[in-house]
């Protein structure tokens, strides 16, 4: 199907919105836009970060998910307690595949679920005592933990437990940081506020811990922020940076440690991959410690090269040469990947609907493979994300914010993309509709997708999904035969 024109897309939006009651229609219309590259700001065209409408099917998570699941969870040597009933942590456990090096249960704890397992009596009488006891137990059973964070689930805020007091007391007792995080799921409209709350708690309880302490620095110290090492992403990014001569002091927070985070205020430059979830702490460090921050993008050769040069521009000639050397070294590798997969993927259309950075960051990688992104959207973005997206996307493409299950299905039916990249909640719906689908939150059990090594895997995975023979076998033979017979009869 040829690309939609602006008018077609407008008509499509109008048609899809037709089924809603008037009020809902008016509200949802504000969350859908047709891209116009000339726009400087997304403000007038799209509304974001608003409460989802009751009754629609949204894909969003909660603030607890944003804090425990995204920001705090991957710190490998800290234990994050899911404070409250057991389900919130258990059903989200290890779902993001944040890889790390370490022995789980001894000196690394990401894959485990620590919870205070609230029962009725804890709701009635309060859970502070239980929390204190839990911290004591953790300290006894897992003495190699470097610190503890208390991630509040909904009931904690509702019953008014004083986790700050418990944490303070426990911290003095065990001599390690114990961080209370007020990320109850009901706060805010999506996981986005959870990122913010988590950033604020890192700022208040962790960041300045080592201020004034000696630390051997080099002029080439950087920190990777907002890379959660999904399937090894941060590792694939890190080797590029190290090869060009930089020293990566910290990884936030995939495969990261508490010590790395505490040392981050001493770096020269913060490299920010996921803007949405860690811009807050970057801004804070810029103000307090004078560390500039830079958004970069390690998806696909074009963006990798662009980002490496942009990063190098903050340093002296040695690093600039290093960047060129790295680019020169890896260009043949990346070209080989393109040569292999581009012919198989050229001209295919993709629709995306993901979380924090991917709806705009992966566009370049698809374009490198000759594919076109015809629609994109975020679950929980804010307007600053859409400002950045407008520039990445082609003109007259569709952009949807907090898209509902119904809208997404209708858009797919009308636009007929060759591939959809979204999350697990969308996956099986589209599989059943017979549309090739890749999970772009946790890379569908694959990865890494960042960096040069990641690009090869990304290209292979897209090809594997799109050109899988199964998509031609969706109609069972008996139905096919009937169709043939009917044709004969007619």
């Amino acid at each position: 199907m040829a690309a939609l024109t602006r008018e077609d897309t407008e008509a499509l939006i109008a048609e899809v919105l037709e089924v809603y009651p008037d009020k809902a229609k008016k509200d949802r219309a504000k969350h859908l836009m047709i891209n116009d590259k000339t726009l400087e700001s997304s403000k007038k065209c799209i509304t974001s970060n608003r409460k989802s409408l009751p009754g629609v099917m949204t894909m969003r998570g909660c603030a607890y998910a944003g804090s425990k699941g995204v920001v705090w969870g991957p710190i490998k040597d800290m234990i994050s307690i899911s404070h409250g009933p057991i389900g919130c942590g258990q059903y989200a456990r290890a779902g993001r595949r944040n890889y790390y090096v370490g022995t789980t249960g001894v000196d690394a704890f990401c894959e485990m679920n620590f919870t205070s397992d609230f029962q009725e009596k804890d709701i009635v009488f309060g859970g502070d005592k239980k929390l204190a006891k839990l911290i004591e137990e953790i300290e006894m059973l897992f003495p190699l933990n470097k610190g503890i964070s208390v991630q509040s689930e909904c009931p904690i805020g509702l019953i008014g437990d004083d986790i700050e007091a418990v944490s303070k007391k426990a911290a003095a007792q065990i001599g390690k940081p114990v961080v209370p995080v007020r990320c109850e799921g009901f706060r805010g409209v999506s996981q986005s506020l959870g990122h913010h709350i988590a950033n604020d708690s890192v700022r208040d309880w962790i960041l300045s811990n080592r201020d004034g302490q000696a630390f051997e620095t080099t002029p080439y110290d950087v920190a990777i922020l907002g890379d959660y090492n999904i399937g090894g992403d941060a590792w694939a990014s890190r080797i590029l940076l190290e090869e060009m001569g930089l020293r990566v002091v910290a990884q936030w927070s995939g495969d990261g440690t508490l010590a790395e985070m505490e040392n981050t205020p001493k770096v020269k430059l913060n490299l920010l991959h996921c803007y949405r979830s860690m811009n807050y702490i970057s801004r804070h460090m810029e103000e307090k410690y004078g560390i500039p921050w830079l958004e970069y993008n390690f998806f696909g050769p074009t963006k990798i090269k662009e980002s490496l040069r942009k990063i190098a521009s903050f340093f002296d000639d040695k690093i600039k040469e290093g960047a060129e050397r790295v680019i020169e070294k890896y260009t043949p590798m990346m070209d080989a990947v393109i040569a292999k997969y581009r012919p198989r993927l050229e001209g295919k259309k993709v629709m995306l609907y993901v979380g924090g950075l991917r709806p705009r960051h992966v566009v370049g990688a698809y374009e490198d493979l000759g594919m076109e992104v015809v629609g994109t959207g975020y679950e929980f973005a804010h307007n600053d994300d859409y400002d950045r997206t407008i520039k990445e996307m082609g003109d007259a493409t569709l952009i949807y914010d907090d898209v509902t299950g119904y809208e997404f299905e209708e858009f797919v039916k009308a636009m007929k993309p060759d591939l959809i990249g979204s999350g697990i909640k969308e996956k099986y719906v589209f599989h059943k509709m017979g549309v090739p689908f890749r999970q772009l939150h946790s890379w569908d059990y694959s990865g890494p997708y960042h960096g040069v090594d990641g690009f090869a895997i990304f290209a292979r995975d897209m090809d594997m999904t799109l050109n899988n023979p199964c998509w031609t076998k969706l109609t069972p033979p008996w139905v096919k035969k009937e169709a043939v017979a009917e044709k004969k009869a007619a």
Binding site: H196, Y280, R283, E286, E287, H382, N383, D384, D387
Partner: protein, 75 residues
């Protein structure tokens, strides 16, 4: 009154940031911009405007300051 942060973008222009609402906007104009007196009314590219009590020009950006909303661009 709201806490805001003013920072410099790579092009050298000033950027307004309101953490509470994650609102980021370029500053079109700043009323006072001399070493002794800096601040006053900030006009944003999204149409909003804020007022910052004039102060000596900060030695380094970004800086967090209190600001009053004059005209809203937000809903």
């Amino acid at each position: 009154m709201a806490n805001i942060m003013i920072r410099q973008n790579s092009a050298g222009g000033l950027v307004f940031y309101l953490p509470k609402r994650d609102l980021e906007a370029d500053i079109r104009s700043i009323e006072f911009d001399t070493p002794e007196k800096w601040g006053g009314e900030l006009k944003l590219e999204n149409g909003g405007s804020y007022y910052v009590d004039p102060m000596p020009k900060p030695a380094r950006l970004p800086i967090s300051v209190r600001a009053r909303r004059l005209g809203a661009a937000e809903d």
